[in-house]
Amino acid sequence: MNRKLSITIKALLGILWTTVFAVGGMMLFMGNRVLAQSLLIDNNVQIISKYTGGETSYEKDKGGYLMVVREPVRDGVFNKTKKSFVQVDWFAKESLPGELGGSIDIDSDGRDDLLVDIDIKNNKVTYEVYGSNIEGLASRSAVTDYIFKRDEDGKDALYHYRNRSYGGIVYKEGISVRIIIQ
């Protein structure tokens, strides 16, 4: 082929490549929200459950605040651990009462598995276990170290936060505990 022609064709292809990418990039910037929704969120791409606490098993309206019991979560990406934890959250649109808790059925079998008593002000959780497969509460520092590290005395088991988004609503105050299951 004529050398000059081949150079021109290559140059035109290069410019076409640049144009397509520039337009494509601009579309990605302008349609960021829509594309993030359709490409990622609608396709169920999620933050790993060990951080978020996992899918909701059931919710209970406690009058003034909401209790959410999650599905069991196992650690790992491809090779999951045998142990799991169940996260329980309490969310309030304004503020939570200073003390709350009660019996919780973590596996939705109709029977209560443990009784928790949370003193938010003093950051203390006391609990009583009914089910034999429950190992105890997970320690807070375990989120980055060892996810199944146990909290022995209930002083390091309560997560307390604000401005938490759940189900499309931002809750001003929220607390969670994680229950380790064998």
Binding site: K10, F21, Q46, S165
Partner: protein, 386 residues
């Protein structure tokens, strides 16, 4: 007509479409604030960016203007970012475990390479954050944004978009002469770190780079030292920040952390293969003075690469070699087109438009929010909005 005046008019005409476009990108059209401080900050940044584009088009020099923008962004970033998170969470510069499970941890671009394999195979992102589009720093936003930048300028991210890189860039410009010489083999370090963090992230199901290595926790946020392990991680990031971001760049005049450690940079080098822009050397004009080899901040040029007229994989399109080449042999280039000549001017102008557009999108937000906080401090005595 006077030649300079003619040049000014041409440059102004070239800047005008960007000035119009960036008006929308910087968010000037969406003044919703109660006070005047926010619009004033945004307007100031808009003027700043457009002036910079004018200067770079007028002078034909790229790197110095880029560095001013880039370093300003890096210094501004912690001011806006840290205060915004402080208002969200109520504690300063530290993330606590409650932030992790409540999703109030911002997603950063450096996380992307280590999370990509689990995300593809299991649809899980191994990083504590949120996909919620309401949260400004959500993972979903950053992933789409990264895709856009990769299409626009590829590895150019590392010298035009990264809001951390300016720290090193700044430190590497502080001394006049390099006091130590680094081994060019070090550029492969980041690739090894990339492989390590990908593998260990899969193994531990936690973002190992962020927990163990990221030095930029020093200018954004870090974990509260709640366990001995977290104490070790804290010491590591402080040492890496002081060593690789401040001292070594100062001594060597190179962007050491970017070359040796940053897994995102290594990843972006691979992504860059699909991008149409690169820097080329016109071999017929090269004087073989090797100035570019000496000056390249990321050691992307070697004698072998000069021979081929191409840059090494660590090139981040900062334009320094283009500016300093005495023989005017280094050029911005669109793959497929001939090297140099009118094509080089077109390639540079288009590249600058794209790079400045991204800067208007992210850098302007970062700088204006820092400026806003500073103005707030001057007028109210507090940097907080609440």
């Amino acid at each position: 007509m006077n030649k300079t005046l003619k040049k000014i008019i041409v440059t102004a005409l070239l800047t005008a479409p960007f000035a119009f476009g960036s008006y929308f990108v910087t968010g000037l059209f969406s003044w919703r604030s109660d006070g005047l401080l926010q619009p004033i900050s945004v307007l100031a940044v808009w003027l700043f960016i457009n002036t910079m584009l004018f200067i770079t088009l007028f002078t034909g020099k790229t790197d110095k203007v880029r560095a001013i923008l880039f370093i300003t962004m890096a210094i501004a970033f912690p001011i806006g970012f840290i205060l915004q998170l402080f208002e969200l969470r109520g504690h300063f510069m530290t993330a606590v475990m409650s932030d992790v499970i409540s999703g109030n941890v911002p997603f950063c671009h450096i996380v992307i390479p280590q999370t990509i394999i689990p995300a593809v195979f299991t649809k899980q992102i191994v990083f504590p954050g949120t996909m919620d589009l309401g949260f400004q720093h959500s993972a979903s936003f950053m992933i789409i944004f990264w895709l856009g930048v990769s299409l626009f300028i590829g590895k150019g991210w590392c010298s035009w978009t990264c809001f951390y890189g300016g720290w090193e860039d700044g430190c590497s410009r502080l001394s006049r002469k390099a006091r130590i010489k680094l081994n060019p083999k070090l550029v492969w370090g980041a690739v090894a770190v990339l492989l390590l963090v990908i593998l260990t992230t899969i193994e531990t199901a936690s973002p190992t780079y962020c927990l163990w290595l990221c030095p930029f926790k020093a200018c954004s946020e870090f974990f509260e030292v709640a366990s001995p392990l977290l104490a070790v991680q804290t010491v590591i990031f402080i040492v890496l920040f002081i060593g690789l971001v401040i001292i070594l760049p100062f001594l060597s005049k190179k962007r050491v952390q970017c070359m040796v450690l940053c897994p995102f940079g290594a990843f972006q080098s691979a992504v860059d293969k699909i991008n149409p822009f690169d820097i080329r050397i016109d071999k017929t004009k090269c004087l073989k003075c090797k100035k570019c080899i000496k000056e390249c901040p990321v050691m992307a040029i070697s004698e072998a690469s000069l021979e081929k007229g191409k840059m090494g994989f660590s090139c981040m399109k900062c334009g320094k070699c283009v500016d300093i080449c005495p023989g005017k042999a280094a050029h911005f280039h669109i793959k497929g087109t001939p090297v140099g000549g009118a094509f080089a001017r077109v390639a540079r102008t288009i590249f600058l438009y794209l790079a400045f557009t991204i800067f208007a999108g992210i850098g302007a937000g970062i700088i204006s929010s820092a400026l806003y906080r500073i103005l707030l401090l001057i007028t109210t005595g507090s940097m907080l909005t609440q």
